[in-house]
């Protein structure tokens, strides 16, 4: 009898602990889902930051055009990424070069859909980086095609090399936790290719001396506000990349924040040392370069190295801008220095300052291979594709449109009707 009672008690206890375990598992899944969806919302809000920053950096007559591009590219990028990009990036890969399944995902688990949502926001971020660099002179329709090309091919194929477990860079041990290279450098190099294909804005460089001429943005307050919103969204971008509500979220968020602060300070220090004016636009771009820089190593670095990574990222902004101007490349918002150069530096830094394995030469070499592969694929790939788009539909608006402003000629709307010459007499 005693034995029967004991065995019954044993069975009861194991049933209780089993259901407790199942309940715990369910709570964990729910918490993870909640965190990823929250992070997705934060990353989505970065689009507002990009839109404000880019719009404020352009002249009043082009402000709506830039807003419109930012608005539409998040819509297109999400649709295209769902249809094609996600499959290429995260589908089963037999070669290690691209995925071959999960296109138009429609029959998957709740967790898969949650990850798709989060990754869609990343794809939209990669696409939108291009719009700022080529603002004020690009046809809206041509830009739409470019955004589709970036999210359907350039971004997901490189992404599959790094974030698909079977990707060839992933197999080599390449570290890019949240996408310094996968998202930002790829976007930056696409922006570089687009800026080369389209050419500088009318009168940006002196025809005889080649000296650059300033074309100030119409509202620097919007630039600062855009910078703050991006900064906030970055907490979701980096900490959300854990894809779970884990205990290291706080460390990742702290590293993210410190790197942004150090990036802004780095730019200010450089400006002081170089005896240059301390510009608001440079300072905002410095913080963004710090954020881009820490994205690769935010989960694998100690805070002191996060500060160093951000600081150096910020220091690189001003010389990178000058280099582009010497090459007569017109990047309206500084997307190439911030995302291209900042991303490359951050990815290298993730190898140099890897927690518990500092200054490992092999790891650094692997990082350099990944950075080089990213540049080669994104820059040359998009250069060829953008050239083809240019031949097919023409990417640049004609000079009459540049004169009148793209708000008016591309959308028949103007951002500031009180000040717009063309709306005053026709109405």
């Amino acid at each position: 009898m005693k034995r029967i009672i004991l065995s019954c008690a044993g069975l009861l206890l194991s049933a209780i602990s089993g259901s407790a375990f199942a309940g715990e598992q369910s709570i964990t899944i729910n918490m993870n889902t909640l965190w990823i969806v929250t992070a997705s919302v934060l990353v989505f809000f970065m689009q507002a930051g990009f839109a404000l920053l880019e719009s404020g950096s352009t002249r009043a007559k082009n402000s709506i055009n830039v807003m419109m591009k930012n608005f539409i590219d998040v819509c297109l990028a999400s649709l295209v990424f769902w249809a094609v990009g996600y499959g290429l990036m995260f589908g089963q890969s037999s070669t290690g070069w691209f995925g071959e399944s999960h296109f138009m995902m429609n029959d998957a688990s709740h967790q898969d859909y949650t990850v798709l949502l989060f990754q869609s926001m990343f794809a939209a971020t990669a696409a939108t980086i291009v719009s700022g660099a080529i603002a004020e002179r690009t046809k809206f329709t041509a830009y739409i095609i470019c955004a589709v090309v970036v999210t359907a091919a350039i971004y997901p194929i490189y992404g599959s090399w790094v974030w698909n477990g079977e990707g060839w860079l992933a197999q080599k041990g390449f570290v890019d936790f949240a996408g310094s290279t996968v998202v930002h450098s790829v976007g930056g190099w696409c922006a570089l290719a687009a800026a080369i294909v389209i050419g500088p804005r009318l009168g940006r460089f002196d025809r005889t001396t080649g000296a650059p001429r300033e074309i100030p943005g119409h509202n620097l307050s919007l630039v600062a506000l855009g910078g703050f919103i991006l900064w906030m969204g970055w907490f979701g971008f980096n900490a959300g990349s854990t894809l779970e509500a884990s205990e290291n979220l706080g460390t990742i968020a702290l590293n993210t924040h410190l790197a942004a602060c150090a990036g802004a300070v780095g730019t200010v220090v450089f400006a002081i040392l170089a005896r240059q004016p301390i510009l608001l636009t440079s300072c905002v771009n410095g913080a963004l370069a710090g954020l881009v820089g820490i994205t690769a190593g935010c989960a694998t670095m100690d805070p002191q190295f996060a500060v160093l990574t951000g600081f150096i990222g910020g220091m690189l902004v001003i010389p990178s801008v000058h280099l582009l101007l010497r090459l007569k490349i017109d990047d309206v918002v500084g997307a190439i220095p911030v995302h291209g150069i900042g991303g490359a530096w951050g990815t290298l830094a993730a190898g140099i300052f890897y927690q518990g394995d500092l200054y490992n030469i092999d790891r650094m070499l692997t990082q350099l291979v990944g950075i080089g592969a990213g540049f080669a694929w994104a820059f040359f790939g998009s250069l060829v594709l953008f050239h083809l788009i240019n031949l097919a539909v023409g990417m640049r608006v004609d000079s009459e449109h540049e004169q009148r402003g793209l708000d008016f000629t591309e959308h028949h709307e103007v951002g500031y009707p009180e000040f717009h010459q063309l709306t005053q007499s026709y109405k």
């Binding site: 804005r201 009168g203 940006r204 002196d206 028949h412 007499s425 026709y426």
Partner: protein, 208 residues
């Protein structure tokens, strides 16, 4: 602007200014000779009208009233968004409009350094010759105008061609001074040109 709209606009003006007998004759003359043209230049019509008929009112007065009527009718007949924002580029600009264009051009180039004015005009001269979407007569007339100044002003010109001509000067100015200063020059030129009487009929923004 449809023929019906134009006819209606003309009739309204003529009814207010001419006797019925003359008015019917004038309308018939207009319908036979001018209504089939895709775009209508008021001054050309009036030149011929006054040489053929004895019209009791002054030519200038009739010109102003007809211009206003056809412009407002044109605005009313276009789709809403387009009419609110810009005129049709294929519209033909008459002498009044050309006076406004000349004033805009002069005000714009006057803001350039004396040494650069010739560069702007030369860029327009060279650039307009390379245009192939406009008929050669229009281009020749405009080139003679550029060479000869106001005295060689043609009777009419296509709006698209004039816009291109102005844009060529704008582009050259951007190369010389940069886009920011050029936009400031353009705004100043527009403000000054808006003050001339002819600008009430043809606003200078038509040409930019």
């Amino acid at each position: 602007m449809s023929l019906k709209d134009r006819k209606h606009a003309f009739l309204n003006v003529l009814a207010a200014n001419l006797d019925k007998g003359v008015r019917d004759e004038v309308m018939t003359f207009w319908e036979e000779k001018y209504s089939s043209r895709p775009q209508f230049g008021v001054s050309a019509f009036l030149d011929e009208l006054y040489s053929k008929y004895s019209i009791p009112i002054k030519k200038g007065q009739l010109f102003r009233e007809l211009s206003r009527a056809t412009m407002s009718a044109a605005g009313a007949s276009r789709p809403e968004r387009t009419s609110a924002l810009e005129p049709d580029a294929t519209e033909v600009i008459d002498k009044n409009g050309l006076v406004v264009y000349q004033a805009l051009q002069d005000e714009f180039t006057a803001l350039a350094k004396p040494a650069d004015r010739m560069k702007i005009t030369k860029a327009q001269f060279d650039g307009i010759q390379a245009q192939n979407q406009y008929d050669s007569t229009s281009i020749r007339n405009v080139m003679e105008w550029l060479r000869g100044g106001p005295k060689a002003m043609p009777n009419r010109a296509e709006l698209g061609l004039l816009r291109k001509l102005f844009n060529l000067g704008y582009v050259e100015s951007c190369h010389l001074y940069g886009p920011v200063k050029t936009d400031q020059m353009l705004n100043t030129a527009l403000q000054k040109t808006n003050n001339i009487p002819e600008a009430h009929i043809t606003p200078p923004v038509y040409f930019i």
